[in-house]
Amino acid sequence: MKFLRSLRIDKGVRTALMVVAAVLVIAVLRSVPVVGRAFAVVERGLVIVGTSAGNVLSRVTTPEHSLTAQLAQCEDRLRDSTEREAALADAEQRAYELETLLGYVQTAQTTAVTAHVLSRALPEAATVRIDRGAAQGVQEGDAVVVDEGHLFGTVVAVSEQSADVRLLHSRESHVPAMLLGRGRTIGLVSGQEGSLLHMEFIPQDATIEEGQTVVTSGLEGALPANLVLGTVTSVLREETSPFIEAIIEPLYDSRAWTTVLVLVTSPV
């Protein structure tokens, strides 16, 4: 301080320097494991508070008998039935594999690790930070799911105690997909504006209709097959184009979830 005074620095500059110093001290303290964990608890609490407030506001602004509320109920029912359908298809697929590929040794084991959302990037960035990292076996490319097998996103960066998850509706997200119950990849699902997804590169000969459920095909990295992506809401066909495109609607709101499951391929 004597040094700053000897430089005849104005009071505003001195305060600004103290702000910089304070922020640097907090940043350094945060890298200490104990303090980092305390910060994580506070951040998790703030995410839960924000999510709960958002859910309450959503309920308050939506009257019980409004069309939106009825639509939400229908979506809940659709989600339940889709989950059952996906589980059934998964079981059928497994049974088929066991019957036909006798002697096949499964090498890729998947374990689910529960994680909490610590922070969210700006809405357009579509990434969240979770409180599980390399120490819990989380790796880049691991799938993150919510509910009963709805793909939430994929892990894109990992540190010791946390990981960044790119959400499904991010424009950078590209997931090979297929229709539920069909055993082959028919397209690539990418994020687009808003919460809807865009499915492209669907061959012209593929049979795709509104209302069908789209799931992961398991073709990419650590993403298992049959994780629900959403339902087809519209199909865009152009006779001159070699491919069909479709709009997919996810069956959950990514902002409403604060606890997720990471499907870890190499558990610790």
Binding site: V19, P123, E193
Partner: protein, 173 residues
């Protein structure tokens, strides 16, 4: 004299620490509670609002430092533009500490930032990259003005309460 200077140093030290903690808390809220809210509330530009309030009340240097550090903490370059535009406007146009000056600062700075963000978004869309909608930018602008007004009222209420409780002295403001 020396005693007075030391007291002044201590005051600016405490003030700096207070602002540092406030800045960190704002950054934390901007990445946790705010984005978890429903649209359009999730677009609330908390860091820009607090930065402009500091710029308006405390002067150019603390305000610019607040916004630039906020840009670093949140990884949002538009806050640096806001700092540059805001600093010029506070010195040349909106020097008064009235609510009208604050709202004028918000309209002008927020407008420049919104236009810059709009141009970047449109360029991204035109070049086939990962674009975005203009709606969040518009919402952010509207929410900025609402939050600035609420922030102004809150600061006044807080100041009056602290004066009444003798936590701060009249001549400090």
């Amino acid at each position: 004299m020396d005693h007075g200077a030391r007291a002044g140093d201590l005051a600016s030290m405490i003030e700096g620490l207070f602002y540092g903690a406030g800045l960190w808390l704002t950054a934390m809220l901007s990445t946790t509670a705010v984005p978890s809210l429903i649209a359009p509330l999730c677009y609330a530009p908390l860091m820009l609002t607090t930065g402009l309030l500091v710029l308006h009340r405390e002067g150019v240097v603390p305000g610019v430092v607040w916004l630039v550090l906020g840009a670093v903490l949140l990884g949002e370059p538009s806050l640096v533009l806001a700092a540059a535009v805001g600093a010029v406007l506070v010195v040349r146009v909106f020097a008064a500490r009235s609510v009208y000056a604050l709202l004028g600062l918000g309209v002008a700075t927020g407008g420049v930032v919104a236009i810059a963000q709009g141009i970047v978004t449109m360029l991204r869309v035109l070049t086939g990259g990962a674009g975005g909608s203009l709606a969040p930018i518009a919402w952010r602008y509207v929410l900025l003005l609402v939050l600035l007004y609420c922030g102004y009222v809150l600061v006044h209420v807080l100041r009056r309460t602290l004066l009444r409780l003798f936590v701060i002295r009249q001549h400090e403001y």
